[in-house]
Symmetry: C2
Subunit: 355 residues, 2 copies
């Protein structure tokens, strides 16, 4: 006997925007339970799904849709960076599961009037990035669409029990992040606010713009940490550092104390914030698209973790806080006092049912 | 040493529409060769890709993007049929590989103003169809988009050497198809041309409309034929019967003689053709979206094939022609004389380099 689908818990007039992504995913997760197939280990709600097609391996799969004028714009990036980016946002999800990326499917929605040379650039950027990552493009789909749509599905593999999930943090675990926070947000702010003829000039701005337009997923880092079982949880910062911490805390029913002074903020954040009077902590904690990895590490696994990080090469990781029993994510100053979250992030302190 | 990507063989000013889907896919196939990973068995260009993650199994994966007002329209279908359809077009690709469908990823592009109840209908239709097919929805992605975009990735599994590929037909093989040709094209013609208050009335029209709005992929049929190694090639008729035959012929370097009088044409084709003075053979041979399966069957496998068909239950299959040495697809009348292809299909007789 098949259970009926859960009811739609929203008023009849509510639009998709009013309901919100989190509530939509929550309904899908309830309607598509894990138990529907015995070989599904992780279903809806993590960075990627995990299935076990054979006894000695698990397969991770993720998909990410990029829409022209929503996720990318020809005003900023080139066709090549746009193609590479479409792969890297998926590589980041596979890396956050500690899996080695293997196969990609590329689904394209193309406007009929799109110049072929632009498509060539997108495809070249995607395929070059796939080659560099050891990923085989094995198939896909082409359709007409009103704007360019690039939807990538990426699979990867890991050994059973040697992948990283979002849920798994325990009170006492230390929290680490790779790279620097706010780089992409600072890069985007610069691209959107610069005046005609404005040159990045500064190497920090240049790096931040690059990080936004052509992110580099932390694949080797995720694979090493997963293979060495050196973290209790992992997530990428595609939706920003504050959101990543919130997701990790909520998935495990723990809290996270984020030690503000230890967060490695990208140097462009301060420059951009000063020039246009923006709040640097909103950029650093709230800005998405960095595609860094956040790990929680049990104290007993600390040496193993740092060893795995060194083996993976760049980027370095930084300890930024600790998991605690009290739910919620708190920002602590250097004296351990709770600071207010930057504007827009107060709701992270006391998560509601759909967040 | 990595080889450079192939050059873009089109004039700088050519648009995507001028270049065409086949030429784009041909470039991608050349730029993303099979050899990029040892575990890839079938890459770009079949109904689905095939990889071998473990010794005793292969995994088939496909993706299909459906765009509002391109592939579906609220003027015709309901949210529920639209969601179910998005799964079935992918089920059909997995069925055409002879694989058992297993896991789906659902990637959605949502307009902010889309009513939540409409999304609920789409999700319900998709998930109910997935349950019925034994498919687990394991993940996905939600993004903003100017129109509704439903991109599904579906994986399935088969035993090594027990899946069906597009390439493999040999001269002398018989050609079979499931169900009836032209149903979806007739249904769409009726939906687009009916006048206000027009009722299907006729059961044939009703069935054709249903076939267009809510196709049923021939999963059990594909699985049985694959498992019994009862066909030398298989493809679905998503782009129409003539295109399917052309793809099979070209992939194997053979020709196909299609015996016109044996093609099982859906009864709505004649009704619609008579009412609006349309060419019935254009609908039957050229009309896409039927999602029937076309097989080529070696004579020695004929009994095994028909046995597999019976085991799969409905729909019946019909022998519609034969593979021959001379390349190209020809339409033969009951006396064996070559007839002209319906308007728009002449180019199938002598395929060009990109077709």
């Amino acid at each position: 006997m098949v259970a009926p689908l859960p009811a739609w818990p929203h008023p009849p007039g509510a639009t998709v925007a009013e309901i919100g992504e989190h509530a939509i995913i929550a309904w899908i997760a309830a309607a598509a339970p894990l138990t529907s197939r015995a070989d599904v280990i992780i279903g809806v709600g993590d960075d990627a799904a995990v299935v076990q097609p054979a006894r000695n391996m698990v397969e991770v799969s993720t998909t990410d849709i990029q829409v022209e004028d929503v996720h990318f714009s020809w005003a900023h990036g080139t066709p090549e960076t746009t193609g590479a980016r479409a792969l890297h946002v998926n590589l980041s999800d596979v890396a956050a599961m500690g899996a080695e990326p293997r196969h990609a499917l590329l689904s394209l929605g193309l406007p009929a009037t799109m110049p072929g040379t632009r498509l060539f650039g997108v495809l070249s950027g995607f395929i070059e990035a796939a080659r560099a990552a050891g990923v085989a493009l094995i198939g896909g789909n082409i359709a007409r669409a009103p704007v360019l749509i690039i939807d990538v599905t990426l699979t990867g593999t890991a050994k059973p029990r040697k992948f990283l999930r979002r849920a798994g943090a325990r009170a006492g675990d230390e929290v680490y992040m790779s790279g620097q926070a706010g780089a992409a947000a600072a890069g985007l702010a610069w691209l959107e606010r610069r005046e005609a003829g404005d040159d990045p000039g500064d190497a920090a701005i240049h790096g931040a713009v690059r990080r936004f337009l052509a992110p580099e997923a932390r694949v080797a880092l995720g694979v090493q940490v997963g293979r060495n079982r050196a973290a209790s949880a992992c997530i990428d910062t595609s939706d920003g550092l504050a959101d990543a911490l919130q997701q990790i805390a909520q998935a495990a029913g723990v809290g996270i104390d984020l030690e503000q002074e230890t967060v490695p903020v990208h140097p462009a954040v301060g420059i951009v914030a000063a020039r246009w009077s923006l709040d640097p902590w909103t950029l650093a904690l709230g800005g998405g698209e960095d595609y860094e990895l956040v790990f929680t590490v049990p104290k007993r696994a600390r040496r193993r973790f740092l060893h795995a990080v060194r083996r993976s090469g760049l980027p370095p990781v930084t300890r930024i806080g600790q998991c605690v029993k009290t739910p919620g994510v708190r920002l602590l100053d250097v004296h351990g006092a709770v600071r207010p979250m930057p504007a827009g992030f107060e709701h992270f302190a006391a998560p509601g049912p759909n967040h």
